[in-house]
Symmetry: D4
Amino acid sequence: GFARLDLDRERRTGTPEVVFAAGKTPAETVACLAGLLDGATGPEPFAWATRVDDATAAAVLERWPDAVVDAQARCALVGRPPEPVGEVLVLTAGTSDGPVAAEVAATLRACGVGCRRVDDVGVAGIHRVLSVAPDLAAADAVVVVAGMDGALPSVVAGLTDRLVVAVPTSVGYGAAFEGLAALLTMLTACAPGVLVVNIDNGFGAGVAAARIARSRQR
Amino acid sequence: GFARLDLDRERRTGTPEVVFAAGKTPAETVACLAGLLDGATGPEPFAWATRVDDATAAAVLERWPDAVVDAQARCALVGRPPEPVGEVLVLTAGTSDGPVAAEVAATLRACGVGCRRVDDVGVAGIHRVLSVAPDLAAADAVVVVAGMDGALPSVVAGLTDRLVVAVPTSVGYGAAFEGLAALLTMLTACAPGVLVVNIDNGFGAGVAAARIARSRQR
Amino acid sequence: GFARLDLDRERRTGTPEVVFAAGKTPAETVACLAGLLDGATGPEPFAWATRVDDATAAAVLERWPDAVVDAQARCALVGRPPEPVGEVLVLTAGTSDGPVAAEVAATLRACGVGCRRVDDVGVAGIHRVLSVAPDLAAADAVVVVAGMDGALPSVVAGLTDRLVVAVPTSVGYGAAFEGLAALLTMLTACAPGVLVVNIDNGFGAGVAAARIARSRQR
Amino acid sequence: GFARLDLDRERRTGTPEVVFAAGKTPAETVACLAGLLDGATGPEPFAWATRVDDATAAAVLERWPDAVVDAQARCALVGRPPEPVGEVLVLTAGTSDGPVAAEVAATLRACGVGCRRVDDVGVAGIHRVLSVAPDLAAADAVVVVAGMDGALPSVVAGLTDRLVVAVPTSVGYGAAFEGLAALLTMLTACAPGVLVVNIDNGFGAGVAAARIARSRQR
Amino acid sequence: GFARLDLDRERRTGTPEVVFAAGKTPAETVACLAGLLDGATGPEPFAWATRVDDATAAAVLERWPDAVVDAQARCALVGRPPEPVGEVLVLTAGTSDGPVAAEVAATLRACGVGCRRVDDVGVAGIHRVLSVAPDLAAADAVVVVAGMDGALPSVVAGLTDRLVVAVPTSVGYGAAFEGLAALLTMLTACAPGVLVVNIDNGFGAGVAAARIARSRQR
Amino acid sequence: GFARLDLDRERRTGTPEVVFAAGKTPAETVACLAGLLDGATGPEPFAWATRVDDATAAAVLERWPDAVVDAQARCALVGRPPEPVGEVLVLTAGTSDGPVAAEVAATLRACGVGCRRVDDVGVAGIHRVLSVAPDLAAADAVVVVAGMDGALPSVVAGLTDRLVVAVPTSVGYGAAFEGLAALLTMLTACAPGVLVVNIDNGFGAGVAAARIARSRQR
Amino acid sequence: GFARLDLDRERRTGTPEVVFAAGKTPAETVACLAGLLDGATGPEPFAWATRVDDATAAAVLERWPDAVVDAQARCALVGRPPEPVGEVLVLTAGTSDGPVAAEVAATLRACGVGCRRVDDVGVAGIHRVLSVAPDLAAADAVVVVAGMDGALPSVVAGLTDRLVVAVPTSVGYGAAFEGLAALLTMLTACAPGVLVVNIDNGFGAGVAAARIARSRQR
Amino acid sequence: GFARLDLDRERRTGTPEVVFAAGKTPAETVACLAGLLDGATGPEPFAWATRVDDATAAAVLERWPDAVVDAQARCALVGRPPEPVGEVLVLTAGTSDGPVAAEVAATLRACGVGCRRVDDVGVAGIHRVLSVAPDLAAADAVVVVAGMDGALPSVVAGLTDRLVVAVPTSVGYGAAFEGLAALLTMLTACAPGVLVVNIDNGFGAGVAAARIARSRQR
Ligand SMILES: Nc1ncnc2c1ncn2[C@@H]1O[C@H](COP(=O)(O)O)[C@@H](O)[C@H]1O
Ligand SMILES: Nc1ncnc2c1ncn2[C@@H]1O[C@H](COP(=O)(O)O)[C@@H](O)[C@H]1O
Ligand SMILES: Nc1ncnc2c1ncn2[C@@H]1O[C@H](COP(=O)(O)O)[C@@H](O)[C@H]1O
Ligand SMILES: Nc1ncnc2c1ncn2[C@@H]1O[C@H](COP(=O)(O)O)[C@@H](O)[C@H]1O
Ligand SMILES: [Mg+2]
Ligand SMILES: [Mg+2]
Ligand SMILES: [Mg+2]
Ligand SMILES: [Mg+2]
Ligand SMILES: [Mg+2]
Ligand SMILES: [Mg+2]
Ligand SMILES: [Mg+2]
Ligand SMILES: [Mg+2]
């Protein structure tokens, strides 16, 4: 049919293929999820999708009434994700960055990694950043989600020896240019240890942080 | 001739015309300075130029042996600048931002305003920023000079009620895009009270800060 | 919960945290305003929000029937703002720049600073600019709001010794590139004394102008 | 050989082909000029080249000792240009825009049109613009050359019924982006009657203005 | 009130102020038109607006039932425009460029200049361009409207001694970047005599062409 | 009327004019199709349109009930296309690239060339690419459709001596910049033999591939 | 060592690996050429390099005195290229596009395909384009090299059923943006059948055209 | 004086401050290195600098004759770096990416982590990528360095469960836009697990990979 599922991906990369629902009809997303569940080789079939809109969420729930849909994160999980190990700290600069942080958190859950969120710690009130310093040391990795000036990862990376996975968001207006300003800030962060993913890509940040956490727990 | 000096500018704006030497031959810059000195109406003739290269500096010094040339700032001052009043705090994020901060300092001097510099307080070592907090309260205005991620003004503006004049610099490489990254960061700073000038425009930041300081001293 | 209000911000910066309603549900904005009112330490509780849409305005008015909503400015003020001191002159280049100028004016009101607006004085009819020259001398600071070519601040800054806070707007089409043309014009203004904020950022311009005015009135 | 001269162009467009020396060796430019002189059908052979560097200028002068080389304009004229008719007014915003204005002037001369230059009338000193108002009415067309903010054409076009041909220059730094800022300003000028050519394209502006002037003189 | 009409503009520039309805409520556009009609000094009151949407058109027609609304051009004319003199040739590259050409035509009508349109003569069928050659010689000026590659003005300018006013349109997709591709093509046209206006700016092209035509008819 | 159909185009270029319905009303598209059918000189009248929306599709079907509308491809074919010769292989990187590949396929059909599609062979599962190697040798040309990173053509071109026509799509978000990322990737492909068309331009890719296939079959 | 030559590439793609000398020392380029000659399996060893500067050319000639260096094309050929079959027509818009066309020609020679060049046929003198129409029909494919507005491929593609491989060049200044203007023009060409390669990439265009020609000759 | 060394950084982040020599005089770099060596608290003083040019290298070697200067990597190491633990695999797409990979390797050495390099495995010869699959499983992390299309990380990340740190390089020309094309490719990689650093930032990639390796070895 229209899709050629990569059922072997989990063996190669540790992460099974995930359905990117953005360009698909609800029926197509359901078909992809079914194909992944069918092709899964482990004891607990599990598959999930990102960028799920309301119509797709409904279609998933109709087919699998036990599915878990996280509306803010726009993710749908079918079956039981792996038991969580380790812990990733997820920080946001402002409350508007919440949906992207939710996608990070849902991804961590789907990848079987623990998640601790601390929100709204932007650098305009620098004491808020300083107050999370103890949490940094307890984490396997840190994901920092920020829009507008995207300055938070530069400060966080100067406070920890953990890897900082930086997610620029499209929050802001004008010269924020839909997340471009934050993206450039993070790429040029004056502190080393900052690694960057695409604008609003909570999924990619979550997968990367999960790999670090799982590798440290082995 | 080729130039139409705006001898009335000091009366209108409080700041006399300043020679922008970048696109001029040494002889043209000398001619402009001479014209401004001739046209000056105050008791102490004074004129100055920015973006002065070595050849122009030599030509200025040949004509006016008492001129003061600041090589790092690329400024040449002929005559006696006004007595300094007030104090502007000038911060840099890294040592490479030094030449732009020097242009700010030279401009403040030419405008008759005091200047206090604290260098290399970038956010990767946030304690360095916090340690300047007392200086902020003592200043009439703060100029923050930063390249690369340009994150410093966002943090400083969250610590003070002084105006923060932010100067993005072309320091950095790759996605710094000759200062564009820092410029966008500063324009989208998550703390209000940040006002932005052109990339590497220490002159503009200095004139603006001087206006604030002088106005507060009146 | 989802937000970590910076109740200490007024002490540090002179301006309390303001709710940016753009990325929030009406309920979230109301919760933030309530938190700020609760945390306020002064005698007159006061809090406000920008980028308020119709649904949020309604939710605010339902909770606080005495709230003042300025529909053009998209601002909602709850409680009594400080008594106004000083005066900031707010100019627009064209009538379409009105909403951004209204945000400047609402911000000045919320910050306790007087405001005088003169609209539609774009440089295509330069006599209109010249006719505001007397107003310039009477102001503590000048905010110039302009879209399309964004040329007005360059002219105004050549006529006054007041700081000119320039606000590019997204008014225009084609090569205006949603305000980018005006932003670049203002950053490269040929007259010094022009400081720039983000496109359509009437809030940031208002806070900055208020700081100048209040500092001059001390 | 390498070039296919368009000897018929003068008949079709009123302007003969002009040699763009920028991508050519001195020998190639000389060969092109010779070809154009050979192919010329009028009584007075005349040909010319733009963007002529020192080596090319020397080669031209060696071949045609009577050639006129304008070093600032980087133009070389061989033979006698047409007698000038009409008058185009050429304005510059700053003295650094001089070389581009010189290219306009050389082009007008080569096209047989009179030229009147007034330099350094930038909008930061608006009285300088107002003082050229009488010259505007006397001109067949106006060419305005400006870098940095590129604001001058907007003001001039509001003062005259003549066409304003606007030439953005690469003068400036940082957010001037090699003339992009001035280009966008001119394209979005708030006054109609402004027509724009490429950055630093004094040649194109000169040809266009010459067509207007010659057409009005017919 | 909100608008400061420039009633003197016709005297200065030959073209009265025109209402740009894009950023205005229907009531504001009507008020501006009324103000212009009131302030008009000539024997035949006439005023008009561009970028008129359906609601504004209805409001204009309710107030002035004799007004002429051109829906494709999005222009509304109230009163009697001047008698047409001269003739401008308006070419389009493709049929999708029609609305912008209609704005040019409506502007010419409002400015009292004759207009001849030939549509859909894009360079992919170059014989269509060649077939308009005779029309070129009969025109006072030529306006060329083209989107996508924007190649038509380069070819037309090589066939005529008339000025070519080039209007890039936002027609196209992908790398057309909303008209940017056509704009850059026109600015770098390999034939001189091409002058460029903003993307989709049929109004600006019409005013400029009208000035040329009227000046030639004097 | 409004359109000047290029009925001679098939003779000159082998491909008749095709209606681009994007900027046209349903009635205009129908009129263009009718004009092309009328003007066709071959024995089997045939004409078609791309970028057909639902309303236009309905209008076409009402006029020609036998027309074939491909909803995913947004193409409408009226009459009988030429018998297919040869075969073009069309690959997609992900399932979301389907609509653009469908436009390629519809174009090949309309041009009388065979088409073989293999979907969802993106480089994240490189074995999927390797498994199409045998198909490459059997094809006259290869069209590769890919969004996001656009990496597939670089890999495919290293595996075949067929021309690779690369079509970037607007699939993706953030730094995909509506297809710009994929476009730049394809233009800088490290393997030669990759030729690029506009973002989402399945039509252009199909016409080019058809020319190769037909020329090889002669 | 530092390079991993792809000796199998000719078998897979019909074109052996070619040394890109731009980022290599003369010694590295010589080593790569030697490795390719050693690894060649055919009867006539042949290898070549592009982007060869003077020092590298000298090093190649010292090692292989019979090597052929084309200075304008910046290519060095060692050994005997295949006997030429077929013919590709290579057009340039202006004489400054010569070096890129020379790279196309050298590539065709190295790939064993005949080449016919016609230079300086830009659209500003459209009769020059029309006069090559007969040559188009005789060619296996057409390569069109153009800078500045890049308009030539749009016109050529409307005159032929051959594939048009378009090469934008970095010739021009200002809004030509180092070839970006021409690139966008070619990607949005209003005639189908235009396929685009990277700016100044004569090598890629030559390889692609050679594939078409060789495939037609089989 | 001019620098405020962050001597505490190693304690906070595990990595001591490193001197960025790009914007400094040789004397300044030597002074910074001396300050870091003086301030070091461990038993083996060690400090190092990146972006070291020839003059700076000479100055370092004069002061510390035992220093190790890696000319290709542009790094200077003074004192004994930590004993290496773990192993990072560093891949390059082409031989021109060598200097950036050398900076990665020098950084790993300075951070006390083992490094294995495999060069020139670009996707145009995909078997070269496949042949490194066994090395991937043996590594703690993978750094992929690629210019031009930047496609290599997408393929590598589909073959391994290790984190892929992607470094875009400025290798290429035209639409490579100094590394922008590769940067966008990597940010939009179709395989998750790719994290991106700034263009040419071998230092940042090395620090990040070292953190992963050291954390896994604990
Ligand atoms: N379609 C248009 N495009 C560009 N400028 C226009 C247009 N229509 C009117 N204008 C100009 O817009 C100005 C009015 O701006 P405003 O004060 O916002 O009404 C007038 O000076 C007109 O010259
Ligand atoms: N470093 C600088 N950056 C920006 N503007 C400057 C600088 N130095 C002087 N200027 C301004 O440049 C103008 C002079 O331009 P010009 O006529 O070209 O000499 C003066 O009005 C100054 O206000
Ligand atoms: N939110 C997301 N952002 C980026 N990539 C994603 C996202 N969700 C899933 N993917 C990737 O998209 C690919 C599926 O693409 P497709 O074949 O179009 O379904 C999978 O390989 C996933 O790794
Ligand atoms: N002028 C050129 N433009 C683009 N790619 C080229 C050029 N010359 C050679 N190449 C390609 O560059 C690759 C070699 O890259 P490298 O490993 O750095 O030598 C080869 O695969 C060639 O296909
Ligand atoms: Mg907050
Ligand atoms: Mg430092
Ligand atoms: Mg107005
Ligand atoms: Mg001046
Ligand atoms: Mg058509
Ligand atoms: Mg897929
Ligand atoms: Mg030529
Ligand atoms: Mg290689």
